[in-house]
Amino acid sequence: MNRLTSTLLATTVLTSVAGAAAAQDQLNALVWCDHMDPELIAPFEAAHNVTVNLREYEGTGAALALLEQSRPGDWDVLVIDGIDVFRAVEAGILAPLPADELPTADFFPEVVMDEVNTIDGVTYAVTEKFGYNTISYNSANVDPADMETLATVWSEKYDGRISIYDYYLPVMGLAALSEGIATADISADNLDALGGVMTTMRSRAASVAGVVAAQTALATGEVDIVVGGGEWLTAVLAAEQPELTWTIPSEGAVRWTQSLGVVEGSANPELALEFVKYIVSPEGQARLATSSCFWGMPANAAAGDFLSDEQKAVLRWDDQPDYLARTQLYPAPDDALDVAMQDLWLDTLAQ
């Protein structure tokens, strides 16, 4: 009896620790780390007198598995890689959004991306942020001219001075661009060519690194180049080490986007929609663009009014028309190609 009560008591304590904030209206959001910034979330919480519960995740698969196995109403909003919106829609995870209530008219036209966010005429998600996976480098140690051509980036000259960003889609996109293959044209037929480029890349690289390892390597001079880097990688370092910069080479680079949507079966769909509207509003967009986890361009161009000149300079606001014209969207493979690409990536890494 005693031990039963004590066990029960202990479990109760655990539960109450977990549910300490269960008083207010709740919004449960499955997000990327840039949404975890209180500067972004607190204004929304105050305006609507709600608590936003945030959970970040790694990898679309993990997020979709989590959502599919949750009870309806467990989740309200989802941040997802633009190229994976269709996966979430196929799985019945996203609810339709009222397209006419979204300020997409103010967006940079290239990132409205109806082809990604709208399926069969129904809008399920809205682009909220974008940026580039390209070449970050230390301008004190490499010749900036060499960084304008992908083939010279991973040439003999920089052997052992390179780190590869640890995510297969953007890096394989860059490999494709260097071969003159558009990212949308990657298929099982040209994977061999990509494999060849990646083998070269890997043979020149000192490491294949996540965000912190890549930043540490750049900041300490371990490497001079990060393939797959961009503003999101070097923006934090630039203040102290202005020689760390990034460029988009002549072949172009890969553009990443993240989308936001309301989860089907949300217990609080109105509030969820309000959240989406807040994030794509000019104020929300400015805060998201300069969020503490990583910086990136806001999809809504009207956010420019809420950004300082310094912030715009770091984001390279004025170069966006040129960059948008020269970059291509992430590869968006179907499931079979995705497996093949990931296997190829792991094979060329783990050699």
Partner: protein
Amino acid sequence: MIATGQRAKGWGFVAPALIWTLAFFIVPFIVMGAMSLATLDGRNLIWGVSFDNYASLAERRFLWRAIVVSLEITVTVTVVSVLLAYPLAWIIAFNVPARWQRLALLLAILPFWTSYVVRSYAWLLVLAREGVVNQTLMTIGLIAEPLTLANTRFATVTGFVHFFVMLLTLTIYANLVQLSPNYRRAAQDLGANAFQTFRHVILPLTLPGIVTGAFLTFVLCIGDYVTPQILGGNTELTVPQVIMVQLGRRADFPLAAALAIVLMGIVTLAYLAAARWLRLDRL
């Protein structure tokens, strides 16, 4: 009658722990075994009995490679850790004056209480190109150019060895101080030299402690995700890293489960190899 009553009471005491272990360890383990025989069609899980996941170990080169890498790293770490920890435990037990021993031991294992995740990150800073190690080596003139230490297998092994040297020093020390000094004296009286005493008396007596510590090192090392992920530079992947990759992008639970079962199999083999000396229930 009394005996059965007593027995029922005895089971009553054991039952809560047993039920917990069954419900939250054995059952998940069985479900994981079943999961490893399921397959993934697109993103749909299909339960069944298929050995595709195990067959893919042979077909998909990186899976096989991950097992080899994991084994190489784990064996290196276990051997190096024991070789470094034994002398340290020995010196603390026999060279350090008795009244300072507790302090020396405490100091030797104090960094054990830094956060595990942060400790790996700290090694990244230490081993960086402009980190302490390179700067020191260059100052004393041993090297002219900084060495690439971070983001390599060397870094992973160093991070692991650091952690396990502390663990093993503790277990081996505990073993050494339990030895009666009479053994050494007796051996010396019988004409054994220092090496012979060690080889034929001390080592066999401390072997169970060493093997138990080494086995724990092996288990913890081969299943660890954090250290290779932070320090290894991802130029080669270990099994836990591959498991996490499968979970992240594609939520391939069947393949992840199959890899976990393989990992278990390796640990079981290690257990059988070490079973003669293992004293797990008498830690």
